[in-house]
Symmetry: C2
Subunit: 418 residues, 2 copies
């Protein structure tokens, strides 16, 4: 197979289809999404069958239990995909919305209309449900999509793609509105990210290595976050109970998510008082603790944190703890070692909360709540295609609006420039 | 001079300064801008002196009259810079503005706070007044800037830079908040656009060749437009008088601007009626006309347009004219040959105006007004750093808001994820 030619053909078809998707009515897009629901529901046996091939290959190739778990399709994961589609149907359609329409001194009216980006390339790893999730968000936001899943999920993804095509057809939308790459050749990714004439933006989902590689080589914009090194800073004037609850929740609610706290910063004046209780509860939860010198002095038998610990995303029951002298030391630690993802302060002090919100340079800044809230659903976006730690275009959880742009619309009545 | 080292040093200093500029109050930024006004006003002789060197060099190097004209600083151009600064002082400060702050079902409040991008690199050609304009917009939007002007304006730009530094100092802002590159070595541009660790976005202003080169080689996002191939489509149901006025204004108001019409599209049913009058008035204005076959059949002695004409930005008193069968033909011509900059329809038909607004994929779409309105001042942005025809981040005229991003702010009261 000539991968370059194949990907170029996919790209051209996506570009053509994108014009039709961009102007599709909300009702038509919802009809397609609901027809996908019906197709997935009636294809359960086929999906599970295809998935079994992937699982068997996976076992042969020595995938670990966690990866096999993420790869598996069963009634419950198919229910999850269906529920996800129904949620996207329920979301308001951002496309065509006109805002800020005002008269100007010249007499013209100027406003902004929300428009799709065009063609979105999604690159992801093992979980096949991402195929449905990404396709539905791109479709609802009026974009065409090219999806490149992991080679370990190729059969599952193709079976899902067939259901997506059934849905598109039922609504009279072109099949090329959502295309799932059929080759597992790695060169396909290289092509996908270097076709600015066909692809408007790439959204990679996966490990840091994958995303770094894509960002480095891409010739189109990439919406991404590399990692989530999130902090909670417990200020001297923190409410003790809130601080303990938030610090526990931010670490132990889920270990493998990007908005999980990796480093806890504690004001020196409250450290002795709060650490005893916290350490006990972390240890009860099975969290390994690594402390700075001052922390280790207060809590003997704690592991000494190394310089590397401050910039490590553990994604595991491990937490580094540092005692700081004041909010300035906390914020400079966060801005230096953090990944600009999500950082929280626990304080009852009005002025310090205001400073933290303004001065911490992260995509989400939080006062008196767990970092685990940094999420499209919790923020009310309805769903998220990913989280961006960049500042260009979208920042933070990216929902339907992040998959669109705005154009200016001008209404006149024969107006000319003076 | 080691250009790489020099540029890296500039970059590091800009990154450090950007944190201080980001948190500067509106009053402090305005104080700096007004101190720049005073410094420019009291340095008129020095500025004109420095500029004379550039003009002399320019003449030696055979710059044409138009370029020398753009390069010249005199009392009137200095007045213009001062007036521009005063306008930026008057603009509202976008930084820190919080919008969409709402309670979520979990009890947390979520909103978005507008934040600076960080460090902006500006690359531009001969006009030294861009130095003040770009610096002031970046400063007001809380960003640090590195400015790289044309080598032909180096003495003028350094003299202006000195006034900018006086202004920064008077307000207690770091001198590195605005840095003007002191070397004319071309390698400096190559460095500037490949330092993602120090530069967050590049805004190039200049010819298409410069911008294409920068976009191709940059390792950071670029806010740009390549060219402005703008269209006016006169529909069958256009008001004749509005159509003639708009078509004339869009072409003849100014020839060298990116929002000037380059191709006029006319519905076949109105062409014979309107072309006689229009051609006469274009010819009176000295505009050379190049028509499609049907246009030439109606207006004998008109030059035949070639395929190249449809994708040429003349920036001159030249206009290509094409007769089309309907709005679909017009829109497909625009989407194919246009540059997604600014396109207008003249029609009294409600349904067609609505279709044109939705389906034309340009950064500005206009009904019954001249394309010349596509401009930051006319749109009420107060000023513009440039016009973007991209869809990622900013689109259309880019003002202060386009030089910022948004972060999520979350307010809780001890909230944890369930």
């Amino acid at each position: 197979m000539n991968v370059e030619l194949y990907m170029n053909t996919l790209g051209q078809k996506a570009r053509d289809a994108s014009r039709l998707v961009a102007r599709a009515d909300t009702g038509v897009k919802n009809k397609a999404l609901l027809a996908m629901v019906a197709a997935l529901d009636s294809s359960r046996a086929t999906l599970v069958e295809a998935n079994k091939k992937d699982l068997a290959h996976g076992r042969e190739n020595g995938l670990d239990a966690a990866m096999l778990d993420r790869l598996e399709l069963n009634d419950s994961t198919i229910d999850g995909m269906i529920e996800g589609l129904r949620q996207v149907v329920a979301l308001p359609d951002p496309v065509g919305g006109i805002t800020d329409m005002n008269y100007r001194p010249s007499g013209i009216q100027v406003g902004k209309m929300r428009v799709p980006l065009g063609v979105i390339g999604i690159i992801y790893e093992s979980r096949p449900n991402v195929t449905v999730e990404a396709a539905s968000l791109c479709l609802k936001s009026g974009n065409a999509t090219i999806l490149r899943g992991g080679s370990e999920a190729i059969h599952s993804n193709q079976a899902i793609a067939a259901c997506i095509r059934v849905g598109l057809k039922a609504a009279g939308l072109p099949a090329e509105a959502v295309q799932v790459v059929e080759t597992t050749d790695r060169e396909a990714v290289g092509q996908l990210i270097t076709m600015p004439e066909f692809i408007d933006v790439i959204v990679p989902r996966g490990g840091k290595g994958l995303i770094e590689r894509i960002s480095r080589d891409a010739k189109v914009p990439v919406i991404k976050h590399l990692d989530g090194i999130c902090h909670v800073y417990i200020d001297e004037q923190a409410d003790r109970a809130k601080a303990v609850n938030i610090a526990l929740n931010a670490k132990t609610h889920r270990y493998g998510t990007c908005n999980t706290m990796e480093t806890l910063l504690i004001h020196i004046a409250i450290a002795a008082d709060i650490l005893g209780d916290l350490v006990e509860r972390y240890q009860a939860a099975g969290v390994e603790l690594r402390g700075c010198a001052r922390t280790c002095a207060l809590v003997p038998a704690m592991i000494n944190a190394t310089e590397d610990d401050w910039s490590t995303e553990y994604l595991a029951p491990v937490l580094s703890i540092k005692i700081v002298d004041d909010i300035d030391a906390a914020m400079s630690h966060i801005n230096r070692y953090g990944s600009h993802h999500t950082d929280a302060i626990v304080t009852e002090n009005y002025t310090l909360s205001r400073r933290f919100l303004r001065e911490v340079d992260s995509s989400s800044v939080i006062v008196n709540a767990s970092t685990r809230f940094a999420d499209g659903f919790e923020y009310g976006l309805g769903a998220e295609i990913g989280i961006s730690t960049d500042k260009i275009h979208a920042r933070g959880p990216v929902g339907l609006e992040g998959l669109t742009s705005q154009k200016y619309v001008v209404l006149g009545d024969g107006h000319t420039r003076k």
